[in-house]
């Protein structure tokens, strides 16, 4: 137990949190940008599954990790476009399309694995490639900072960069305002001349790309193969985090990081004699507590306004 406390307050632990947290941050950002413009994307889990698998397959057949990654991103964007097409052109309920895509991805991925590898469990028989790990020269030699900043998977840096860009776009640019307007009231936004469909299209393409990055991170960096259902609910955790934060990007990211920290602690507590099933609920309980705390705060804030 002392050993665990020791390892939690160490630089290695932060590195683990980053490693565990990146796919979750990708998922929650994907959910966040979609819900911000008022078009729910609940197909994130399905997009992650399809991208994780297609990244591995394409990289194995072309021999290039980059082509694999762009293929994965293309699949993710394509699936997001399916949501856009059906919901905006054909006025279908985006939730229904999301369910359809999730169901489709779960089974189609198994079928795709079967025809390409002859197995349904994993792609270990294919020589797939992984995206590079980035070692920043000079910085990596600085003791603590080097360990923290250098030596991560490439997509980790992409994740941080995109999170910052999204923050700037949403909070500092007119386009961000338009995105929020579309989410708050599409008709009103339309009436003041905002092209709602165009804004939503751009947001959903970004959402699909982000979810695809989350999937590719899992199968082309963190791990180097695809294993059936390896996303293991990370897409849903992202959706939950986006729901907790509502329109507030800071809270969305905070929730996700909190969940990642809890998960990293769980991975260590699992090796102690504590009951596993109980330990495994810790991340969810943490999010629940956060959610309750948040709504209490909001409740008080609202009452304050009324007075």
């Amino acid at each position: 137990m002392d050993g665990i406390l020791g390892s939690i307050f160490s630089i290695d632990f932060l590195v683990v949190v980053i490693r565990v947290g990146v796919p979750l941050v990708f998922a929650s950002l994907a959910a966040y940008v979609a819900s911000l413009v008022g078009l729910s994307n609940i197909a994130i889990e399905g997009i992650m599954i399809m991208s994780a698998l297609s990244g591995v397959l394409i990289s194995a057949f072309t021999g290039s990790a980059w082509i694999g990654f762009f293929g994965a991103a293309a699949i993710g964007i394509f699936m997001a476009l399916v949501i856009v097409f059906f919901s905006m052109r054909l006025k279908a309920d985006p939730i229904m399309i999301g369910i359809a895509l999730n169901l489709f991805a779960t089974d189609f991925s198994v079928w795709l694995m079967l025809i390409t590898t002859g197995t349904k469990g994993m792609t270990g028989s294919l020589p797939s490639k992984v995206l590079p790990t980035v070692h920043i020269p000079f910085i990596e030699d600085i003791p603590i900072l080097g360990q923290l900043i250098s030596g991560h998977y490439l997509l980790t840096y992409v994740c941080v960069a995109i999170a910052i860009i999204i923050w700037i776009v949403v909070y500092k640019t007119p386009f961000g305002l338009r995105m929020k307007a579309c989410g708050l009231d599409a008709t009103a936004a339309e009436s003041v001349g905002i092209k709602v469909n165009k804004v939503r299209l751009i947001a959903l393409i970004l959402s699909g790309f982000l979810a695809a990055c989350g999937g590719a991170y899992l199968s082309m960096g963190y791990l180097s193969f695809y294993s059936d259902n390896m996303t293991a609910g990370r897409g849903w955790i992202g959706i939950a985090a986006a729901a907790v934060g509502g329109g507030n990007l800071g809270i969305v990211l905070l929730t996700t990081v909190g969940f990642a920290i809890a998960q990293a602690i769980v991975n260590m507590l699992i090796l102690t004699s504590l009951p596993t099933d109980l330990v495994n609920t810790i991340p969810y309980i943490c999010v629940l507590i956060g959610l309750v705390a948040l709504s209490i705060r909001e409740y008080h804030a609202r009452r304050g306004k009324v007075k």
Partner: protein, 369 residues
Amino acid sequence: MKKLTTLLLTGVMALGLAGCGSTEGTTTTGTTTTGGTEAGDDVVRIALLLPFVGDQSYMDVTNNGLNLVKEKYGDQVDTVLVEMGRDSASWETSNLQTAQEGYDIIISGNFEYEPYMIQVAAQFPDIAYINFDYSDPEANKEAGNIYGMTYKGEEIGYLAGVVAAIKTESNIVGCVGGQENPSLQNMLGGFIQGAQTVNPDITVVTGWVGDFNDTAKAKEIAGNMFDQGADVIWQCAGGAGNGVFEAAAEDDFWAIGVDSDQYTALSGRPEIAAKILTSSEKRCDNAILDAVTRYMENDHTLPFGDMVSMGVAEGAVGLSENENYLNNMTEEELAEVDSYEQMLIDGEVELIDCQANPDQFEVLVASAA
């Protein structure tokens, strides 16, 4: 417009279903396609029902049982594999259809699909049913025409534990389980006992993923075990366990597989496969051969209602002796593994069954901590 939406949405759904349907519908492959019993009375017709094959693991090993039977009995038998599909909704129909086609022996099993077999078996008392991996002994006995087999999970774990304890240099070994349940506890309990048989003072770190999917989590857990000093780690966590192999390749420790030869399943990733020392296999194929042999030699009947446990002694549990294993184990180490295997067969080692004695698992874990 709304109609078109509905239509297109239905289309997407149907496409999704078709995607699975093409592989998951009931398909029959085998040496004969003719129905009825015109093949002759002296030919024993055997059908094996599995949801699917091609996992290079459990299903494929089981399917190999048919090949072994065919090899041994040649023209005396007709073997057919029936793929029931992954959707449980079709399992009862598949069972019913197969039974109606008049087979002499129908083989199926496993906790997931045995209920469907049991239900149908009761309606066809003339067919000899073999459950190659039963889980509910009472229900199987009740049907009256089922001969059930199971694998000594504690022996599967024992073999892995023996190899781990022989190979470790730090005297700390680890085992990663999937979802904590009595049968997996039994396997991990066997691992601890195997390791302790070799070295009573060994430390065994135990960890549970919590499900059978989360590959990344299994990798983190294995990494944490390695940080605690474990240098040989056994995985018993289904698909999630693949993460243990990834960690083994990254941190450079030995991993041991389970159920089937997992070294061959990772043939495309030699750098990962090289770290899989061996796998502790459930040899469902040998068990099926054993059961069919009993049937053939016992006047075409089986001791129905018997639920037998197959282990190392019957060849139903064993280590994969692939090139990687043989190259990385010295002659002495191999001889040592053999001697501990022989000790089990000779009854010199008494293993605790943690499935029957659930409270014993915690005791074992504590004794090796």
